[in-house]
Subunit: 341 residues, 2 copies
DNA sequence: CTGTTAGCGCATTCAA
DNA sequence: TTGAATGCGCTAACAG
């Protein structure tokens, strides 16, 4: 493994000169020596040793991407195209900027802090952080941090985040359901914690109902289990004749699509017997029949914007907008029945 | 940031002693000093500096996971639950073993070699490597390597890999189609390169047809474009009345499901008008209607086995089976019509 | 424009 | 059972 010193010796120059060539400090090297050094660099296939770089610079150029989730639900969550799209976009951006992508899942804030320290992470992107945990991490970590889809419990502290107009999404879909004559609906949250994202979407629903002077109280929601069989039971129960609901309002296309498929297998028709709405507008919503009426979001953009914001933080550039909330859009398709009159 | 030296000073011992405590070399430390050191370690929240470790040990404990694909098709590929499942499983295993997970996509072998060198990777997992490239990487990299879903062009060289009985999968699905009376089928490959995995699946199809003395020649296949609109055109064309095909044989559930959905939108019924088969048995095949007849594979297992094989290589343990080929299984559902008599 | 030097934090001899 | 010394490869401050 050729080192800088080795190249320097071969080229008959000092290590410093080699470093300067490597870093493009062409002002400090004559063209002749520069070219000579470059020849040897190529000849011996020089590759830097990041260990030494970390030690010398206190920076690894690694971006740590941490997804807050129960490790064992890994597969379920990652099966959702939503996460893949974000990850794919981030990997691409990070690589393009000459940084490295380290992926980690956890629910433990200490682990995040430790990771940042041991690896001298250039930056952190935290996904789905519970509201109380975010501020703590922010306090104990040196690297710049950008949150994705995390609503933090902080008024005073400034932080950087990329999210969605979740509340508006909930509002739009509910207003549409109301227009279609639906009055008894139930909200199905992705997360048993019912924090952040889900909560805001639900609030949007409540707002729409309140506008019509209907109270959608907190009981009109279900926190979906991570166990598929449990979820199936829930779907059956909610759509049964004994239940008053005319529509199931899901907080993701993933579960909405799962429900549609399951209900159809049980002989329950969507939307004739019961209406269903999704959230995300990902591949599932277009693939199943009926196509899902849902809220559109661009999840790749979320990843891309998060990375570019982080890069600005790393380079200490100014950030015009520290808390980006991406737009949502109602996408009307075929999974909601008009039950007026 | 506390260092070993710092802790040593606080505890009134030498750095060596601290190292020994950290590494569990309890034979070299008395219980009393050990406990004292541990107190200070905790008190100051010691976290190692991986930069220094890399330098001293020439090993970063990072596992590089490299997916060979056109960077810009990132999203399309990762949207497939198949990749997510593998990634999720690998992340989990790697973390559980106390290693770190670095993700990288590329098509360039040099980049892989450079990554391995600069980061002193503890090991590499390479996914979807083109047949000629694999051996080259193997030659120029020091770290142990495990391939996933890569059929390498090497007879003499031993390498380590986890794959699937792709040919058997192709065979099983084709034999089933033949039993159902299908004679004119067309194979739709995932990859425009038509290498490795796709090729073997196609060979399996040919074998099944040959058994019936029907020649399925190489023309009876299409390499699907990465452009959705192009694919749609292909689906339309193949299912039109002018075409002789009674069944579309896909090399993934992802595209099969996409095709089914698109065809249905065009008023073409599956399987009444045309039969469709998938490959993978992932969430798509169960979610759409008709449910897809497909070949089952456990993609999480692929990831897990790859990691555990790599760990054995890293620890220089013996490997009973260097080239694992996971079993496939025919899953008969509702997307193939019986057209006998 | 080029070279010398010190030090980053750790593991690893070797000595005591 | 403990400690001192060395070197891994690189950057940056300083000298020439």
């Amino acid at each position: 493994m050729p080192t800088i010193k080795f190249i320097a010796k071969k080229a008959g120059v000092s290590p410093t000169t080699v470093t300067n060539v490597l870093h493009g400090n062409y002002a400090r090297v004559s063209k002749a020596t520069r070219e000579k050094v470059e020849t040897y660099l190529k000849k011996y296939n020089y590759a830097p040793n990041m260990g030494a770089m970390i030690l010398a610079q206190n920076d690894s150029r690694i971006i740590g991407v941490i997804m807050f989730m129960e490790p064992r639900w890994n597969e379920t969550v990652l099966e959702d195209p939503f996460s893949s799209a974000i990850l794919g976009a981030m990997e691409e951006e990070i690589r393009a900027m000459g940084y490295f992508f380290m992926l980690h899942t956890t629910t433990d804030k200490e682990e995040v802090v430790r990771l940042a320290k041991t690896w001298k992470l250039a930056g952190l992107i935290l996904v789905w952080v519970p509201r109380n945990i975010g501020p703590i991490i922010l306090d104990s970590v040196e690297s710049p941090v950008v949150f994705i889809d995390s609503h933090l419990a902080t008024k005073d502290k400034t932080y950087h985040s990329v999210g969605l107009k979740d509340e508006e999404g909930g509002y739009l879909i509910s207003r549409y359901l109301l227009e279609m004559g639906h009055r008894k609906v139930i909200f199905l949250a992705n997360d048993t914690l019912f924090s952040g994202t889900d909560l805001h979407r639900f609030r949007g629903c409540q707002k729409a109902f309140k506008e019509r002077n209907i109270d959608l109280d907190l009981d009109e929601k279900i926190l979906l289990s991570k166990e598929k069989s449990e979820r199936y039971k829930t779907y059956s129960k909610l759509s049964s004749k004994e239940m008053p609901y005319t529509a199931l309002v899901f907080s993701s296309d993933y579960y909405a699509a799962e429900a549609v498929s399951y209900l159809q297998d049980c002989g329950i028709r969507v939307p004739e017997d019961i209406s269903v709405t999704g959230f995300d507008d990902n591949i599932f919503s277009r693939m199943i029949h009926p196509h899902l009426t849902t809220i559109h979001q661009n999840s790749s953009d979320k990843g891309r914007i998060a990375v570019s914001m982080l890069m600005k933080l790393i380079k200490k550039q100014e950030i015009e907008q520290p808390n980006v909330q991406l737009d949502v859009e109602l996408v009307i398709r075929d999974s909601v029945k008009d039950i007026n009159n």
